[in-house]
Symmetry: C2
Subunit: 331 residues, 2 copies
Amino acid sequence: MAVNKQIVLDSRPTDKVSASHFRAVEAPMPKAGEGEFVVRQHYLSLDPYMRGRLSDAKSYAKPQEVGAVMGGGSVGEIVESKNPKFKVGDHVVGPGGWQMFAKGDGLGWNVVDASHIPLQAYVGVVGMPGATAWYGLNEIIKPKAGETVVVSAASGAVGGVVGQLAKLKGAKVVGIAGGKEKCGYVQGELGFDACVDHRSANFGDEMKAALPNGVDGLFENVGGEPFLQTLKRLNDFARIAICGLIASYEAAPTALPDMRIFLVRRIKIEGFIVSDHLNLWPKALGEIGGLVASGKLKYRETVREGLEAAPQGLVDLLSGGNFGKMLVKLV
Amino acid sequence: MAVNKQIVLDSRPTDKVSASHFRAVEAPMPKAGEGEFVVRQHYLSLDPYMRGRLSDAKSYAKPQEVGAVMGGGSVGEIVESKNPKFKVGDHVVGPGGWQMFAKGDGLGWNVVDASHIPLQAYVGVVGMPGATAWYGLNEIIKPKAGETVVVSAASGAVGGVVGQLAKLKGAKVVGIAGGKEKCGYVQGELGFDACVDHRSANFGDEMKAALPNGVDGLFENVGGEPFLQTLKRLNDFARIAICGLIASYEAAPTALPDMRIFLVRRIKIEGFIVSDHLNLWPKALGEIGGLVASGKLKYRETVREGLEAAPQGLVDLLSGGNFGKMLVKLV
């Protein structure tokens, strides 16, 4: 195999992203220079934050360059190495991007043990999404036993972990998800106390019914109507972790209509990006890894096949077309 | 003196409060029963939170009852006592309300030392407003040396203390106040690094000019345009303490137009009510009292004369007609 198939960003979306904003290209196979290694990639991770990087508006991450290989997390296996810390055959997780083979020098890459936990879980439940769930729940919401925690995008890679961790802390957990099937999974499989379908015509009434004791903690992944409905049910001293606002990434911004709620209810809202808190990942992922290995923490994956499926996979993820962690399987 | 002059709430304002919503009445002089005492009131405290209590909408405080003596903080002197902890001649601070004489049983009342600090300061800089400033600054904003802190209503009873405490911590402090005279006082007397007049036609540009390094902490007393202009200048990891939103108490709500700022900037916003944190008052007021007694912390008062001046005093306070702490002098 002399060529490396890649997908580059072809143009920036001005409104909704589509697969046509990307383009498949071929590049020479990477060769490891001194201190470098080559990864044969097994899975690409598709994540909502990627939408923000397609825009060149100011954000926390640098914009994705047009014409460059689309960035993103991945897992794979070292097939060539001139770096003593990465041996041929090692399984690794890192920023491999949308290509069949990635070259690294160690920065951002870690060797992982795929003997007890499936390799692709390292870009999911025991990777960035898991650390995200852990951080927002434990460092911002800090739920106490008996409190009520609401999680939006509850069947997603982050939301599913948030709810299960909150249940383990003795909280009552109410999920919000899109559609009956996802809600059934969230309540039946993941063990949330309730799940409300934000596509329901009676969404507001169903939220009220599901939250007889109000809301003490909100892990917000979505924004828009699910956020506004939850605001109405906040208890005094509620804590809100803003992790994502996927409903607004390609639509109108989510506004907070009246700041007086901060005074009337003494609310705390904090936005966070898990990569600001790398120091807590070992603790977070150690805890989650133990729960996954012992079967106490469940997760689900939507797997698309082949590199060329990545662009449409991202488009579908942004409209809720995934069920759990969205992955692209390469080998 | 056989009668006790009082001011009661006559009707609830639906829009802007005016003096006509109150009514002067006469009641029999209070007599101390067992465990009780009578306070001859010296000063009434007028505070922005009172506006919220005039409405019967859900808020953190119980609504003021129509027909009852208007509630509020006060200072005075014990003139009769059947409570061993409160002796005739003691100076006290407590919830005396808008009347010449108040009766207490001890709940909410404290004996204070008016020998080094003027009595009325116990409803100001060494009272609730001072504790409010201290809490929001030290428990929410937590400024580091070299950071920039913005304070709205900077010449007010709370704002003036916030800025001076932040300066003592090595922060750069920029005030926002209404009018040139207040801004001159905030910068010249209180020692803020800058003060921007929110009535200026070029308010936005002047904010930009005053904040070359952006904003790391915001102590928000006002809402409305001052808040929205400060939002534009926030740095990553900025902390916002929501103490008051006086611009919205009798006008349109202050909205936060786009929640994405929480993600892009990793912002924390927390609303607070200082009475939720009574455990910290001794620490806060001990620190502030020392600074006041040694002349290191300055404050200013606007004093209206006579009980009948209280209603219009409150009206004026809500439109910025005060300069520092707003008081009504009774004796």
